[in-house]
Symmetry: D2
């Protein structure tokens, strides 16, 4: 059965030519990202357990969950958390199947703790965080749909929902994502005073980009306010240095501008995350699955993290749409911008969306009629191969936030 | 000091001329909406208490919180909730100020319960829901900013953040919102079997609109599957009847299409919400402050509900941007579409955004130079009068979801 | 099969002739008593549901549960609770039986709230207390034992455990219980400023009895410290007046001696219980099933409240032992003091204890050989009629704390 | 000021001559004991922190707290916990003093986890247990009393309460305690299949003692039901062998008599405690501070574990009374049995009880007038040295359950 794929050209001022552009990324230690990461870690751990113990993936949905902030008293040289962060695991999972019991709650708690330990190794897992669990066991309907499919047939959509993706990144988007990755991959390993809770906001006003970073600093690695200021300044300078890799526009960098150095009111933390000191987090409130929040682009409000990667459209279609958009740009010549929307129909095979829509802004001089077949082919291939999304999610090869 | 207002024309295929359009609204009884409504009810109750007891509004932020689904066994004629919904109130609030203690936790629990009782009067508040509270007391920095401002001076932004709004609604948007309001205001009062958890999804494919509704039905008002089917059908017909008020396009209406009537697997609930049977909800995951989820439009990921309405940009600027957009369309001739973005700078007066940006698609034949001054004036007035947003939020005159 | 009943005479200085005697009672609003009362209310509600819906009583055990204190700021004329009391319901219950689902969690929450509302009508149930539930569903073994018995056959003991009772009350015991009842039944109804959290401790030193009362006063019914002092004094005088009804010994009464009137540090509360302001409570930590704590008498550490009244020895045998002891004193002449111990054997019929032991101190001049047969007969009758304990517990005719 | 010490002779059939005697001990892995141990571990950790950071011990009371059972599926060779145990830490502690912040919540969670890890090293601390915390910050009055005393002066009683102790142990008491210690200290280290949740109940009927043990077996160390039975039998035989060390009476030993071997319904667990599978636990519901539950002896209902060891009478007087009783028996000739009761007066120095009462049953042929002065001296010395109780509790030298 051929798929309902629609490719249209739209008239639109390309993002780079718009006057104002806003882009944001919440780093891995931001409370919302911690919530996302935990949700996804639980889903992956459940998938692993299901396949090992039952031979099939089973219904679950852990795309909710809440990080309730603790209280800390940071101090140069090393302060402490006085009230632990409280992480509530919710959602639901299949807990017994075909006579086999799956210890879903235990798996969830274990996965959540392992995840947090992994991303914030300096955190005292014995006292700085409480991981609680109130996971239910799902609604019968959804489970039925799921079982009916067995292991091999094409999964059926769990809901009428959609996924959205765009490509390519604008310069500001690349910059925001690039700076965030640079801090995670390059800068923090050499500068442990830089916490994981890094919020990067990019504002482009015509050709001037302002990057505003809020960076939680880790108190134990800083001796005094002087070293704090110096460390913040060095980070700012490093970012200014790498910024030209992403854009030729002028980039102004601000780090922790809300600090009041004289008053000693600075963004100092014990473990490098504001979750320890007043900022709650929720699954699905932070980055979209391309790693960014882009209010000037079409976005899905669905949480990608924590949803099951087998039949949950809110996850699979967001990931696939983003991937397809990137592939189109890479493989089809002449695309200035492309927006992909995949809309499911509850109960129908997931490789047969109700509609797969592509909106294309061609590059100047390119003809839409030449672009269209290529885009159609990429979308068609992506849908045909949709099962690989599931597999790659479970193997941790696809990021969800 | 004059405000940094930027009005630009953008080239863009107007939404009505795009091929595919997606719009969604989650009704008041949807788990995400319940979370939003509770969050906002708590904020309003706190504001009321602060002004009564301290004479000033105080810092609080209750824009988090989780609805953990219960379990129910619905039954025609009346089933029951077997495991209560668990609502966790989080966030933080000022609990003492100037020697006055404000019973913030008690206020929060009371407001949450009163809110749920108000929107779902059939719910057994003694057994069907547990309202728990783990609210903290905020970070010192934010409180300082807040106190410094006193009661009268212009508030200062609590964060570097932004708000977004657009106008006018497209036909599909009007239809989705209109149908949802029609059910709430007109249809349910006469048909108590219609629950409050109504999800309306609109897909426009060129000139054909498909409205897909998922409507939780209330078991006690239905005697059997026959009456269920009949009730669903009557609702569908009613919606088909009123649809032409919002659009001249062809509208196809589906209600509870995932039902399997033969198997008796239908969307039946005890209290009219899926929160009782497996669907969790979170603040900020549902409707934007204009009442819709519009993935084809610029959107803010910030939760509007539950944030304090005094200096919390994520709330005030979203509400103001939406309002300003509507005022522009109403008062300035020639606007096909307008998008408003307000970007704050932490610590600066909220009536002085870093930039207030308007993107306008003029109607055919209208000149941007004529539109610009009007838009600028509306934005300027809106910002000058920003304190009224606070007041109207507290009085409950502005909806946040 | 004849029962293993052992009656022995013991040499012992009768309690009234011992030099020092200590007796304590925690009133219905004491945190431990609130926990007991909730536990018992849940058990009764479950029994009612089981019999209505399944026709048999089913296994449950709610003899745990915790009252976590709130925080309050009492104030003459009316203060308030600033952090709600948190009541955690635990234990386990049968949630499905023979295809019937019993909404045990909902029943538990409802019963707990109804109980608290009943005993503390002035409490704001919407904000001053949170009732949470983490009830499990019991171990398979216990349930099996239980089901096997059906409705009519003699129940089998759930555990190897015992119950203990004594009679008659000493003068000090009668006084402590009598004063507590007087306050509950007579004095408080006319003096609403007297809270339900009344702790009465009696110390008899030879022939002088000191009654020390800690009485939570209700702020809304008192205008100032003067009225507080006056109210405390009037209560003290009233107790002094009724004390001679229970003893001819000299009784000295102290009420709220820890108060520091000058400093304004007094036992003032919003709702008449210290649970609102720092005192936690647990099931089974307060009064034994005769209403008292009597460290000079044999006591069982088992919680009587909340255990199921069908086969839970820790409950049934404590109640029966107390009742049998009283009946012996009433019906058999010559008993100065009697102590009854009933010891079960797990899996055996509950009317056939491993041993039913009576220790008797005869009155001077009475011969044990005359007393023995009467005591044996009373015990035998009590055991034969043990099912009536179950029924009366469920009907609320037997107090458990 | 001389102390109010009363020593009296009482007539009483010595316990060894009574017909029926009941004694019970709950091992360290019993849910009630886990609760006690956690409570005490937290108190000790807080004391350590207070003295290190503030130079004085500060008010706290963690003598509440609840172990909510999990669910497990034990399996020969190794099963698993499917729902984690939930441990709720409550009580209250001083969280700031003299400008110093003490991270009491973090300390509590850390101490609780470390304690459980210590006593049940096989437990998976990452998934088999959740440690949650809702600790408050105490009532002002108590704190005031406390601060007023400073560090050196004699502490003042926090309450009108009492402590009770007796000596020497009867044979049955020695046997029950001895068998429990033997299992902990000697047998389990060599037989890892024996869990820590060992309940020993001793019934002496004249000269026949029946020891009934309920022993949670650890599944991973047992290959099948055959090895289970064999292991249980070997344990029984070992106990039969050592029993004569404690008594010359005939001892019958039963282990896990509720097992139904044929049906495979045995007391098998994953981690050696029934807390994982349905049995809740609470502080203060298990052993008294002498390690036993002795319903034939005077007992205090007060929890000893978790109370602060500085001024909390319910703890200090129970420990001291038990110690003084033992010292009397060791140092004063002619005591058959002795019962010590210490009664405090709120606000008075703890070395000056309202009354310190000793009831003595002299050995045949001993004159009370010779015993009296020795007992008085021991009590007087014990009270004079009461501060050492505090110190030894903090150093972990005194067991509380």
């Amino acid at each position: 059965m051929s798929r309902n794929i629609r490719v249209e050209q739209i008239e639109q001022t390309p993002i780079e030519q718009q006057q104002i552009e806003l882009v944001e990324r919440k780093g891995i230690g931001h409370p919302d990202s911690i919530a996302d990461g935990i949700a996804e870690a639980i889903s992956r751990a459940l998938c692993k357990a299901y396949i090992e113990e039952c031979g099939v993936y089973l219904h679950h949905n852990t795309d909710q969950g809440e990080i309730v902030a603790g209280e800390s008293i940071p101090h140069f040289g090393g302060g402490r958390v006085v009230r632990p962060i409280y992480a509530l695991l919710t959602g639901r999972a299949t807990k017994s199947f075909d006579g086999i019991n799956i210890p879903a709650d235990t798996i969830a708690v274990e996965a959540a703790r392992a995840y947090v330990r992994g991303i914030i190794p300096i955190m005292n897992m014995e006292g700085d965080i409480i991981v609680d669990c109130r996971m239910g066991s799902g609604s019968t309907d959804l489970r039925d749909v799921f079982k009916a499919c067995g292991g091999s047939a094409m999964m059926r959509a769990n809901d009428t929902s959609f996924g959205i993706g765009h490509a390519p990144f604008s310069e500001t988007e690349s910059l925001v994502k690039g700076v965030s990755d640079y801090i995670d991959d390059v800068y923090r390993p050499r500068n442990p005073a830089i916490g994981t809770d890094v919020k990067v906001m990019g504002l482009r006003d015509t050709d001037a980009i302002t990057l505003t970073l809020a960076v939680a600093m880790v108190d134990r690695y800083l001796t005094d306010i002087g070293e704090y200021v110096e460390t913040v300044n060095r980070l700012r300078e490093s970012i200014e240095e790498i910024a030209p890799q992403f854009t030729s526009r002028k980039v102004h960098v601000d780090v922790n501008t809300a600090d009041d150095i004289t008053a000693g009111s600075v963004f100092l933390t014990v473990n490098g995350t504001s979750a320890e000191m007043g900022d709650d987090g929720s699954v699905g409130r932070g980055n979209r699955c391309n790693g960014l929040i882009t209010p000037g682009r079409p976005m899905s409000m669905e949480a990608t993290s924590g949803k099951n990667p087998i039949n949950h459209i809110g996850k699979i279609y967001n990931l696939l749409a983003t991937e397809v958009a990137n592939t189109c740009v890479a493989e089809v010549e002449g695309i200035e911008e492309i927006y992909i929307r995949l809309l499911s129909q509850i109960g129908h095979p997931i490789d047969q969306p109700l509609v797969a829509s592509a909106q294309v802004i061609p590059k100047p001089g390119y003809d839409m009629s030449k672009i269209m077949p290529g885009v159609e082919a990429v979308i068609d291939t992506g849908l045909a191969d949709i099962a690989s999304v599931t597999e790659r999610v479970i193997r941790g090869e696809l990021k969800t936030f």
